[in-house]
């Protein structure tokens, strides 16, 4: 079964003793849990008084009970902590709300466009991407791919390493990609929120007016170069990546293609930003008639 030997790759699920099989067995056990002789594997009697109260069986709520270590009653251990967290949060909220008023600007006026007009902070990162991409990419394609990519994460990572602890060493690829994306998202937000002025030109927040006048990047590749380049990137690059990750045991064909698509899209966005900043690149390919430009 194990095609890469004991390389111990992060994506090699068999290298750690086939825990994924354990999982399906555990789930099966749970479904059959009903007809197990109740609590045969657990002590009963006065030391476990909650037994008679119909405690949810460990097969139902706690797979792997032994490996989870000792348990404590929820009352008071967990409930006390929750109460503490609730009170602390409410206190912070109250203090902040007493100190800072929610903004209320002049009444809405469709005739007066503020410059710049900024989206709510959590979407400013996408707005910042408009510097580098056409609106259909920055505002539609990229958010859709992000949401799809996030939802796909569990199906693209077959490893069983580093669960229930925070670790970089046990799963460097996964942690690396996710952290890069998360930090990148907030860097874009920060740039859009703090460093963009009228006309979305770069400003230093401590000066008045733009430092660099807003410039339109104009250098586009001719389509005869751009089209083959894009094809080479997605088709050729995809083929190579697919061959490379074939070594990652435990991913089905669909998952591999998905992973490769997401990886190329992610890297492509970063690449385009770099090329734009370094060489003022505007488009790889451009078909003004249809509005399709990348």
């Amino acid at each position: 079964m194990n095609r890469v030997g004991d390389s111990g790759s992060e994506f090699d699920r068999h290298a750690d003793g086939g825990r994924s099989d354990d999982v399906s067995r555990r789930v099966g056990d749970r479904l059959r849990g009903m007809d197990r002789s109740a609590g045969a594997d657990r002590p009963s009697g006065p030391s476990r008084p909650w037994r008679e109260l119909g405690e949810v069986q460990p097969v139902g709520s706690m797979p792997d009970l032994p490996s989870l270590g000792p348990t404590v009653p929820v009352w008071p251990n967990l409930l006390f902590r929750e109460l503490l967290a609730v009170l602390a949060c409410l206190l912070v909220l109250l203090v902040v709300s007493l100190l800072f008023n929610a903004p209320l600007e002049a009444p809405a006026d469709p005739a007066t466009t503020p410059n710049p007009a900024k989206a709510p902070w959590y979407f400013v990162g996408l707005q910042e991407l408009l510097v580098y991409f056409d609106p259909w990419i920055a505002g539609v394609a990229i958010p859709l791919v992000i949401v799809f990519g996030l939802a796909a994460i569990p199906y693209l990572d077959p490893s069983r390493k580093g669960e229930g602890v925070y670790t970089f060493r046990e799963r460097p690829v996964a942690v690396g990609i996710f952290t890069f994306g998360l930090v990148g998202w907030f860097v874009l937000i920060l740039v859009g929120l703090v460093f963009r002025g009228p006309g979305w030109a770069w400003v230093w927040p401590w000066t008045h007016g733009p430092v660099h006048p807003a410039t339109e990047a104009s250098g586009s590749l001719p389509n005869v170069v751009g089209v083959p380049l894009l094809l080479a990137y997605f088709v050729g690059g995809g083929y190579l990546l697919l061959r490379w990750i074939r070594e990652w045991v435990g991913l089905g064909a669909l998952a591999r293609v998905t992973f490769v698509f997401l990886a190329l899209a992610f890297a492509g966005v970063v690449l385009k930003i770099v090329l734009h900043l370094a060489f003022g690149l505007r488009y790889f390919v451009s078909f003004p008639g249809s509005g399709f430009s990348v």
């Binding site: 994924s20 999982v23 555990r26 789930v27 008084p49 909650w50 405690e55 949810v56 139902g60 706690m62 792997d64 270590g69 000792p70 404590v72 009653p73 929820v74 009352w75 251990n77 967990l78 902590r81 929750e82 609730v86 949060c89 909220l93 902040v96 709300s97 008023n101 929610a102 209320l104 002049a106 809405a108 006026d109 469709p110 007066t112 007009a117 900024k118 989206a119 709510p120 959590y122 707005q127 609106p135 259909w136 505002g139 539609v140 996030l150 939802a151 994460i153 569990p154 990572d157 069983r160 390493k161 580093g162 669960e163 229930g164 602890v165 925070y166 996710f178 998360l182 249809s290 509005g291």
Partner: protein, 252 residues
């Protein structure tokens, strides 16, 4: 020995004991009974692994997201009493809320800052789940439900952003919804567009070509009814699955 005093007496009345079937737990048996017999506490099992309730395992972030959602529900319902979603009234209603309604400014502040905090908390919760590797089997689908919750949280915040009907609200939502006009095929500015400005994705969102009265009522309904109804449904599934999948993942 029976404790004395009016509170103790109330807790012994037939009515009180019919509501709360267990008092403050005095022994191990009652500690478990109290969790089992209360519908809210029963979100939890009666016992949890000690390793999984350490602060560092969750930073309480899922719970904080839930708490902020509840704060938003309460303050939001109170705001609805003073707010009418039409371009002529929305802005002045907010002004009156701040100037005339007792604690109106505080109410609005609480709602506003909780909204921002919830977006942050949900993102942070997602990050902590990721770094804990807690999306692996059998938790994969709960992660997917979480992603839906994240998207809904963003929509909840975004639809609320328009309601004060000030310049900030109006133009932020104009910028945001303009994106829909550039969607491929279904946006009139997008590539391969097959629609005109009056019938594209943005027009469906706004009920017109610009942010106006129709957009305000749409956002109001989404913000006050649709999303707040859908989210608790998803949360119920989310929490149920957290329990069924063995609670918060912790390596012992």
């Amino acid at each position: 020995m029976r404790s004395k005093g009016p509170l103790a007496w109330i807790r012994r009345t037939r009515f009180w004991t019919s509501v709360f079937r267990t008092g403050i737990p005095k022994d191990a048996r009652e500690q478990h009974a109290v969790v089992l017999s209360n519908v809210f506490l029963h979100l939890h099992p009666t016992r949890v692994p000690q390793a999984s309730i350490r602060f560092i395992r969750t930073f309480c972030l899922g719970g904080i997201s839930l708490l902020l959602f509840c704060v938003l529900l309460v303050t939001g319902v109170l705001l609805m009493i003073y707010y009418r979603p039409t371009p002529g009234l929305a802005y002045t209603d907010i002004q009156e809320l701040e100037a005339v309604v007792p604690f109106g400014q505080l109410l609005r502040n609480l709602h506003r800052w909780s909204g921002h905090a919830m977006v942050l908390a949900v993102i942070a919760h997602m990050a902590r789940v990721f770094y804990a590797g807690a999306y692996r089997p059998p938790r994969e689908f709960n992660w997917v439900i979480g992603v839906f919750l994240l998207v809904l949280t963003l929509f909840l915040s975004f639809t609320g952003y328009l309601l004060p009907w000030d310049q900030l609200a109006y133009w932020a939502v104009t910028v945001g919804t303009n994106m829909a006009a550039s969607a491929p095929f279904i946006g009139h500015l997008g590539p391969f567009s097959v629609v005109d400005a009056g019938g594209d994705a943005r027009a469906i969102l706004l009920g017109g070509e610009v942010v106006g009265a129709d957009a305000l009522i749409r956002f109001y309904v989404l913000h006050c009814v649709v999303i707040p109804v859908v989210m608790p449904l998803l949360m119920a599934i989310h929490f149920y699955r957290v329990r069924k999948d063995g609670g918060v993942l912790a390596r012992y």
